[in-house]
């Protein structure tokens, strides 16, 4: 059982593909759609660039959740990249769950460049979910 | 070659001649038809809803017996039985859920290993129409015969896989092998009214009328069928239409294809009729 400290603010690392999700985040910005500050975005060309080891590393360094966001299947700028993403991360998700990481802590979402509102709502939801889970202690390096 | 043989209720009663001529001709052609030992009525209709699986028990039991008897093919004659068996077998092959239920109930492990075939298919594929033609001793020369397929041999299109649904040829090829003149007419695959003749005779009669009129117009002197219910309907409602169409007063014979086969092979024994 994880303990919920008062005022816990989770740290969330989001990998966003340049063409869709990063653009979606920008649109949320230009439309001034507020969401919590907990999320930090790393820009990648395509969701298929995200190596599972990046995600493990984030958890090890203390991230409380990791989000991978890419173009909707069929809309990938590189045609098929997000299909690989989908396949890879279903496997990774199972592995993480096996290691005791709650499914809410690792999410894969499709957000298009015109879905500013979706981007904001995904950020709101993931922050709320992880807040209620409390900090990630399972994989964090003993430092 | 040895086949499991499923006669069905009607061939044992009202369509005795169908069974007799089948067995006579099979024997003449060197085909061994071994009757499934404890067969029961196949249910006559394949269930058209997702809820009923128990009607499949009976056909599966016969199929499992055929398999136990070491036969790879189960032969049926009546188009109704054929339709039920073919579709049941397909379900047992492809639908794991139904298969589980049925096998659980029957304590069997039947997965559709046996092929369900119609006698016509045996004649076409195992005997061969060219070979059959050579065995014919009394060619049906000059006889103008109209094949009538009806529905159940052919449909549903994606489940029966018996012949092209819209343009079947197996009956025609069979008749040509016997030396008959095939009458082509557009109504050969139109429904005869099926079981409507039990409850709604008027509708069945009209359906039959269209088939007969079309066959008459194209010069048919006899119709040939593979189904006792088709035969019943086509015979039962002939009168009215013959008169209306100004056709010959005497009834047009509706024959099972095996009757013609027996005649052509000259093996027809006296069957008391």
């Amino acid at each position: 059982m994880s303990v919920k400290p008062e005022g816990f603010e989770p740290l969330i690392v989001a990998f966003c593909c340049n063409w869709c999700s990063y653009a979606g985040a920008d649109l949320a910005g230009t439309s001034r759609m507020a969401y919590p500050t907990n999320v930090r975005i790393i820009r990648v060309p395509c969701s298929s660039r995200v190596n599972p080891s990046f995600i493990i590393r984030a958890f090890q360094r203390g991230a409380d959740a990791v989000l991978v966001a890419g173009c909707h299947p069929g809309d990938c700028h590189y045609h098929s990249g997000n299909f690989f993403t989908r396949r890879r991360f279903t496997v990774l998700k199972q592995m993480l769950e096996y290691m005791g990481i709650e499914p809410e802590r690792f999410q894969v979402r499709w957000i298009s460049g015109s879905e500013g509102a979706k981007f904001a709502s995904v950020m709101n939801n993931i922050t709320a979910e992880v807040k209620s889970l409390g900090p990630n202690r399972k994989l964090r390096d003993a430092r | 070659m040895r086949y499991s043989y499923y006669p069905g209720c009607t061939l044992k009663t009202k369509a005795k001649v169908f069974e007799d001529t089948t067995l006579q001709t099979a024997r003449a052609l060197g085909l061994e038809f071994a009757e499934v030992e404890e067969w029961q009525c196949c249910g006559a209709l394949y269930p058209l809803n997702t809820e009923e699986v128990f009607p499949l028990l009976s056909p599966v039991r016969s199929l499992a017996q055929a398999r136990a008897a070491g036969c790879t093919k189960l032969v049926t004659l009546c188009a109704g039985c054929y339709n039920v068996f073919r579709r049941t077998n397909r379900t047992m092959r492809s639908d794991a859920e139904v298969r589980g239920k049925i096998n659980g109930y029957l304590e069997e492990d039947y997965r559709g290993q046996v092929d369900v075939v119609h006698y016509l298919e045996i004649l076409k594929n195992d005997v061969g129409f060219a070979e059959l033609a050579e065995k014919v001793s009394r060619r049906l020369e000059g006889r103008k015969i109209a094949p009538y397929y009806g529905c159940l041999l052919l449909k549903p299109r994606n489940e029966m896989d018996f012949d092209d649904v819209e343009n079947p040829t197996i009956f025609e090829d069979f008749l040509r092998a016997l030396g008959a003149n095939v009458v082509e007419y557009p109504y050969r695959t139109e429904c005869c009214g099926s079981y409507l003749s039990m409850a709604n005779e008027e509708v069945a009669a009209t359906a039959v009328g269209r088939i007969l009129t079309s066959a008459f117009k194209n010069g048919a002197e006899a119709l040939v069928v593979a189904c006792p219910l088709c035969k019943y309907n086509l015979e039962e409602y002939q009168k009215g239409f013959r008169e209306a169409a100004g056709s010959p007063a005497a009834g047009i014979p509706v024959l099972y294809f095996t009757e013609l086969l027996a005649e052509a092979l000259d093996v027809r024994e006296q069957d008391g009729q």
Partner: protein, 659 residues
């Protein structure tokens, strides 16, 4: 140690109102490698950019981080700025503290905290950036167009007019495609031949176009700007140089077969041109049907040819050529009707397809333009047209709408009323689809002025009754059962991809959809490009299309080709994948995931003691790589990395965020 400069932008109050610039600057000064920090009201202004350039010089900065708006906004601007100051443009990193910070957060305290984190992340990435360079590639300034229908003809003419050399490869003995078979064309009803044949002649006479008929593409190698294509010139058995096109040979040839061009409604000879206006107007011998080739006897054509052009010894020839760009324009086939026995096609001669109807109404067709029943040569009185045959049918045809048949059926109804006075057209439809300029009006004309009766019902069965045909359906609008007795039935057959489309797609490394139509790079925004750079699409090979759409797409493809060939050279994208051959195990997992076929195997020789061994490794073709990075994840040993987004950079970003 790197010397990193950090520049924070206020964006007026857009950033500065929410992010405490002073505090952020103070934090940035403490970040590893940062030697200089400054801020500006509007960094993208000329003054702001000048400040960066000066700071680079004054403080010998070798990496630059700008905290400002999204990189999607000004990355290019600022790359140029640092380049002007003598740095590699890829030494720049942008922290997005506007769209992803000041604009979406309200609380100044946490927003500032996040801004600091974003700057730290960018600093970490910049510290690990490496100089990247685009390479320059030469361009073969010639184009190949595959398929000589209206699409290929238009594309070839447009490219040639722009001053580039074009080879047009057509598999049949003549160009023209389907449009050559049509009579009049909707929505204007101008005669197809009148508008097409002049263009065909233009192709033949254009100084920049090299027409290669009776030929096919055998192999395609290389990449954008530098394709090497092997073309098979099928043996025509006629010497094109000598032949004058006099036609004596096919007048005398004794072997007659069904003419494909006439849809089997007329015969052609074994030596033939598909139609009288063929371009080139020189025959070919169809060896499968020639008596000489099948039985060794005949040679009539050789005897009668005044030019001595017949050459039975000709062999197929493989020619290798180089091109900078390729346009695919191989068109469509009409749907085969094997699954539609209910319509009696093939069973009754008066049931015909729409393309057969086109030949019947065509003045140069087998009946000289008279609409006559094939069974008895009499004009029909009542004609049923059945739409959507083989279309919109997921059970046994194509699930998609073929797009052109509603319109050409309206055309057929109009032509019937014009050519056979008093004849009646009955059009059976599911929906009538006429989106297009003047299209609805054209359809209106069919029923309003030309008397066609439209019946909303998919015909269920057609069968002969005496010498007539009975059409059974229902009018779904009134609920009335319909049984029409007609003289002729015309089936609006669906549009299929060419039978060999998938094979050609493989040769070109392009993809097809489930029905073998070639895929465009983006359904809306890149409709003529393919996923393979330098290969473009035109016409019905990409999906069912009428002539206006086909021509528009062909001209668009031509522009794409021209703008490519116009470049002196191509600059490659520098953020590409790179293989470290020391780590590469040669298992080629990367090759399997690359969507662009940019990875190939290569064999290197290595010295092991005294022995020299060959070893397989992966190699990235930087001209093809689009920099998606999928391969980097597929690679188990971590041998393949993506420049500009290296593993080290991304891991450093993760670490910086999680500090």
């Amino acid at each position: 140690m790197k010397r990193i400069g950090v520049f924070l932008c206020w964006c007026g109050s857009n950033i500065a109102a929410t992010v405490d610039i002073e505090e952020t600057m103070a934090a940035a000064r403490k970040m590893p490698g940062v030697v200089y920090v400054d801020h500006n009201k509007y960094t993208c202004s000329e003054i702001g950019q000048a400040m960066i350039r000066e700071a680079i010089a004054a403080h010998r900065l070798d990496r630059v981080v700008i905290g400002s708006c999204s990189p999607r906004m000004h990355e290019n601007t600022f790359r140029k700025t640092v380049e002007a100051a003598g740095l590699n443009p890829f030494y720049l990193e942008i922290a997005n503290i506007r769209e992803q910070c000041s604009w979406v957060h309200k609380d100044k305290l946490t927003a500032t905290e996040k801004a600091i984190s974003l700057i730290r992340t960018a600093v970490a990435k910049a510290a690990r950036s490496e100089p990247l360079f685009s390479t320059e590639m030469s361009i073969e300034r010639r184009a190949l167009v595959i398929g000589g229908g209206i699409a290929g003809i238009q594309a070839a003419l447009d490219i040639a007019d722009a001053g580039f050399e074009v080879d047009l490869v057509e598999k049949e003995p003549s160009i023209g495609g389907r449009m050559a078979q049509l009579d009049k064309t909707f929505p204007t009803l101008d005669c197809s031949a009148c508008i097409l044949t002049p263009k065909m002649v233009d192709v033949a006479q254009h100084g920049n176009i090299n027409l290669i008929t009776y030929s096919e593409v055998e192999k395609v190698e290389g990449f954008v700007g530098n394709f090497t294509v092997t073309i098979r010139n099928r043996a025509r058995s006629v010497d094109m140089e000598k032949c004058t096109g006099c036609g004596d040979c096919y007048a005398k040839c004794p072997s007659k077969v069904d003419s494909e061009f006439e849809m089997g409604l007329a015969k052609r000879r074994a030596i033939y041109t598909p139609f009288p206006q063929a371009v080139p107007n020189k025959p070919a011998i169809d060896r499968a049907n020639c008596r000489y080739f099948t039985s060794g006897k005949c040679k009539v054509c050789q005897k009668v040819c005044p030019a001595g052009a017949i050459d039975y010894e000709q062999q197929d020839q493989l020619v290798e050529k180089k091109y900078g760009a390729i346009v695919v324009a191989t068109g469509f086939d009409t749907h085969k009707l094997d699954n539609y026995g209910e319509y009696a096609y093939g069973k009754h001669p008066d049931v015909i397809t729409s393309l057969e109807f086109e030949r019947l109404v065509n003045a140069s067709g087998p009946t000289g333009g008279k609409i006559l029943r094939p069974s008895n040569g009499q004009p029909p009185k009542n004609v049923a047209f059945i739409q959507c045959v083989g279309s919109r049918d997921k059970a046994k045809g194509n699930p998609y709408c073929a797009k052109i048949c509603c319109m050409y059926t309206a055309k057929h109804a109009i032509l019937l009323s014009e050519k056979v006075p008093g004849a009646n057209a009955f059009v059976f439809y599911i929906d009538v689809r006429t989106p297009g300029k003047d299209y609805e009006e054209f359809y209106n004309r069919a029923y309003e002025e030309c008397g066609a009766t439209y019946i909303r019902g998919n015909v269920s069965k057609v069968f002969p009754d005496g010498d007539k045909l009975v059409v059974r359906s229902v009018d779904a609008l009134s609920g009335a059962l319909v049984e029409l007795v007609v003289d002729m039935v015309v089936l609006a057959t669906s549009v299929d991809a060419r039978a060999d489309a998938r094979e050609l797609a493989q040769k070109l490394s392009i993809t097809t959809n489930a029905y073998n139509f070639f895929n465009e790079a983006h359904p809306k925004l890149r409709p003529v490009e393919t996923q393979t750079a330098g290969v473009f699409l035109a016409g019905a090979c990409q999906g069912p299309k009428d002539i206006p759409d086909t021509v528009a797409q062909a001209s668009a493809a031509a522009v794409k080709v021209v703008s490519l060939l116009n470049k002196e050279s191509l600059l490659s994208n520098p953020t590409v994948a790179e293989v470290d051959i020391k780590l590469c195990s040669g298992d080629m997992s990367c090759l399997a995931v690359c969507p662009y076929g940019a990875i190939a195997e290569k064999f290197i020789e290595e010295r092991h003691g005294r022995e020299i061994r060959k070893r397989r490794v992966a190699e990235v073709n930087t001209a093809l790589c689009q920099g998606c990075g999928a391969c980097t994840v597929a690679c188990r040993p971590g041998a393949i990395n993506l420049k500009g987004f290296t593993n080290e950079q991304i891991l450093a970003e993760v670490d910086a965020i999680c500090l």
